[in-house]
Symmetry: C2
Subunit: 591 residues, 2 copies
Amino acid sequence: MKPLETLFSISDNSSLMRKYKGKSKTRKLCLCLQSIFPILDWGRYYTIRNLRGDFIAGLTTASLCIPQDIAYAKLANLDPHHALYASFVTPLVYAAMGSSRDIAIGPAAVVSLLLGAMLSHDIRDYKSHEYLRLAFTATFFAGVTQLALGVLRLGFLIDFLSDAAIVGFMSGAAIIISLQQLKGLLGIPHFTKKTDVISGIGSVKSVIVHHEGKKHKKLFWVAAIAPMTCVIVSTICVYITRADEKGVSTIKHIKGGLNSVSANEIFFRGKYVVRGFRIGAVAGIVALTEAVSIGRTFAAMKHYTLDGNKEMVAMGTMNIVGSLTSCFVATGSFSRSAVNNMAGCETAASNIVLSIVVLLVLTLFTPVFKYTPNAVLSSIIIAATTNLVNINAVIMIWKIDKFDFMACMGAFFGVIFINLEYALIIAVSISFVKILFRVTWPKVVVLGKIPGTSIYRNIEQYPKAFQITAMLILRVDSPIYFTNCNFVKDRILRWLRYENEERAECELAEIEYVVVDMSAVSDIDSSGIRSFERLYHSLEKIHVQLVLANVGKIVMEKLQESKLTELIGRDKIFLSVAGAVITYGPKREEL
Amino acid sequence: MKPLETLFSISDNSSLMRKYKGKSKTRKLCLCLQSIFPILDWGRYYTIRNLRGDFIAGLTTASLCIPQDIAYAKLANLDPHHALYASFVTPLVYAAMGSSRDIAIGPAAVVSLLLGAMLSHDIRDYKSHEYLRLAFTATFFAGVTQLALGVLRLGFLIDFLSDAAIVGFMSGAAIIISLQQLKGLLGIPHFTKKTDVISGIGSVKSVIVHHEGKKHKKLFWVAAIAPMTCVIVSTICVYITRADEKGVSTIKHIKGGLNSVSANEIFFRGKYVVRGFRIGAVAGIVALTEAVSIGRTFAAMKHYTLDGNKEMVAMGTMNIVGSLTSCFVATGSFSRSAVNNMAGCETAASNIVLSIVVLLVLTLFTPVFKYTPNAVLSSIIIAATTNLVNINAVIMIWKIDKFDFMACMGAFFGVIFINLEYALIIAVSISFVKILFRVTWPKVVVLGKIPGTSIYRNIEQYPKAFQITAMLILRVDSPIYFTNCNFVKDRILRWLRYENEERAECELAEIEYVVVDMSAVSDIDSSGIRSFERLYHSLEKIHVQLVLANVGKIVMEKLQESKLTELIGRDKIFLSVAGAVITYGPKREEL
């Protein structure tokens, strides 16, 4: 009667399993390979029209990606070519294994910052070879963490970072990054020298252009190619004016050529293994959070299913491969995926196009970056990260849920005033405290009859709903657990006292029946059963009958097991509140 | 329209506050004093009939209490007179301040064991004066902790120890205590000497008598006076046979006279302050758990209200006073309170009677314990603690809730194999994981129409309920939070796919409307709102309409704030499932 229960999965695999039924071995192998490498599936239906979309999208994304990569490498305190390596290798792996059609893969701002912060906490000297090795180690373990989460179907853990926490975390990180970059942008480290006017202007333009592009969706490509244009224009300016000789700091050198193997660089023993694992696990989870969040948004927009666990396996594999080929942690980035999507990507093949473009740059064009001013990179980072500060989302969160807002602010100020790891812990803790808070003090509301119907609803929500003579109808808005069972019991007794006082003042009949609507009580534990027993006895002493309505399946089974149904009496348990009122309520009145 | 919200209170103070309205200052002071010392209130109505009940109950309880005290002191590795001191001073304080009419106050087995274990972990040599001082310090801080919980109205924290955890904890502790006492009972430390046959037989009798007493409620007094009888009989036997000279170990000496002041013995500085506080906090909370649990049970039985916070203030004060007068931690004990209740106690004055009897013993009869064999004390402890092993409760917990059973077993084996503190932490953790588990993977059930009604219920629970053509009606059985919002969304989409496949096989119409019954969705957060947006878009793409029914007050406000009502459409939100089906369902059929 119901779909397979896969409690530990956030995705739908039952239909996949069904596919294998009654197939030959070769066919099974084929299907299995297709499930690991979705490209074998969608690749067969790939058309020229798909290619056109993916080609344009890949090209556009690449033009955003290359300057971003060079900039993000700085956030991780690594040389630019490692980021370009990552943009070459990881998109290829993802194209083969990923199930999202819109995510563009590569280093991302927040993850790079997080990586840089955590790495330099352990090894201060980021020019040292140890630092680079620890970066590869962390990348490797980030991949292992992601792969493990996917294989063990623990993808749900990602959900423990609430949207509110992510918004706060990203905004905080964006502000930290921007403040850091202002140094570079305004040339503060060389403040005594001439400020970098030319590229400063360029970068301001870049920010403005970016935001203009965001406003008018058709002009998205302006935003997409703005960074590359800025880089080109400012590089040419510097080359012509020889500003680099006058104190404007430039990139100077990017190592060209393809990725070198770094498998032998990863720490597999010694004190750095544990540190690398810790950094990798945190960075891997944050990277996943970003990627899964983007992936879900686009999947919902274009209506296709995203297998969260498969995504994690793809991300994990790509980072492991990356760590073996001199890359650092890559993920699906917000800004690039948006550009990729808006440029009309059709499949994950756009990542292959992106990868090929980066390959060409790596092999042919690295020398041209010699004259690219660092300030323009800072401006690119600021332009990319300011989009992460999502004030509207924060306002919406404030409106919807004050506790969520606290989690959001916890993450935000945590990032700014403490560090990124603690910020995550703070936000997650607040989110969980909120759940426990709600479970500990649930609402118990008074129901009334909506005139002309047999429907009973909260009298506060529906002021026209009226109460029944000599009856008090209450709804408990939560499962009943040890944390709230005494609260619920006391609250019911208190409502009874309060209503009796109110009714006495109006000279109405005393309450003879307390009807508890159990619609929202989806579960009860042994403490809850015991407090219901106590409630029953307390009511019995004052000659008030306890009546239950709409008891769910699980709760009913537990009431039976504990013989509470017999104590309360089977004639006191009803399918609906209306049924209870018809049986025990006043016979003549408005019913 | 509703009673004062006192979120942080487990008790009812609103009526109390009302009392103060419009009264003169003297009257207010008087009421305030009455609220702190309930004896000033009930004392005014005290009758001879009350006195008779309390006198008999106090006397009976004392006859159980004195041998238990001497025995429990051994569990805490303290001299017996400290326990007798505690049974003299603390019941007096409680009688004045407590609001329960049935609790009998004094040292309790589990708390004494816990105290002894924790104290001797810090100071191995329990004969040293330091040990005694730490015991007073811990008692002091236990009182402070209890008082603080009461004053700050944090009584709800006690509820975080679920019934299941308490059952497991008590059973485990009882077994540990009994095993320890078997040594004493069988005289194992003196195994090479003659075993203590006389008192051994006595003790076995005591256990049997105790259990017989429990079975026949009218014979409770047999159980109540059995320990005292055993003590007297065995003491006389030892005195006549001079068995103490033949190797039977006896108490030898109990210091007589009244409590000495111990205020100057408490550590207020130095390394033991923190340790004392830690021990005291744990012991204080465990003591409260026992007392509040007993208090609630009797309050429900006799129908009076127990103010949890006031109870904590009373317990806290009595332990602080106790720590200043050479007592160790006292609380309401299971066995004595049961005897007190069965002997017909009427008010807390039975504690005063108990206290006076103990006073008489302390001043007059301590020398008679010289010949009391230690083995009989062990048997008394075993008799008292075997009642704590509540197999029926464990079986009931197993039947009702498997997770609760895990918490119970966690506490039980934690006590036996690790220690009492960890056992509590394990049990509380399991209990909380269970709540998070349920919140993370809530049920999403399919509803059907119950023939002949307009009621829609779970088709698994009501097999006669039938589904509506072209509609899928689902109920989400939990508030929607960040932890479960994606699960709920995926589960809804999955039910849709599954039902469509099933219906296609039976050549039924495709589903056009998904109706989500929100009865049990008492709350939603910003992640939940976002996943509903995604759900709406996903359904839109496959031309399925999303309809909501019975949206509660809080959720409705949030849907409006987030403009989700406008996205879904106000014509898609209904008061009840029946309303939605009437509007969008098939017109002709069985409706």
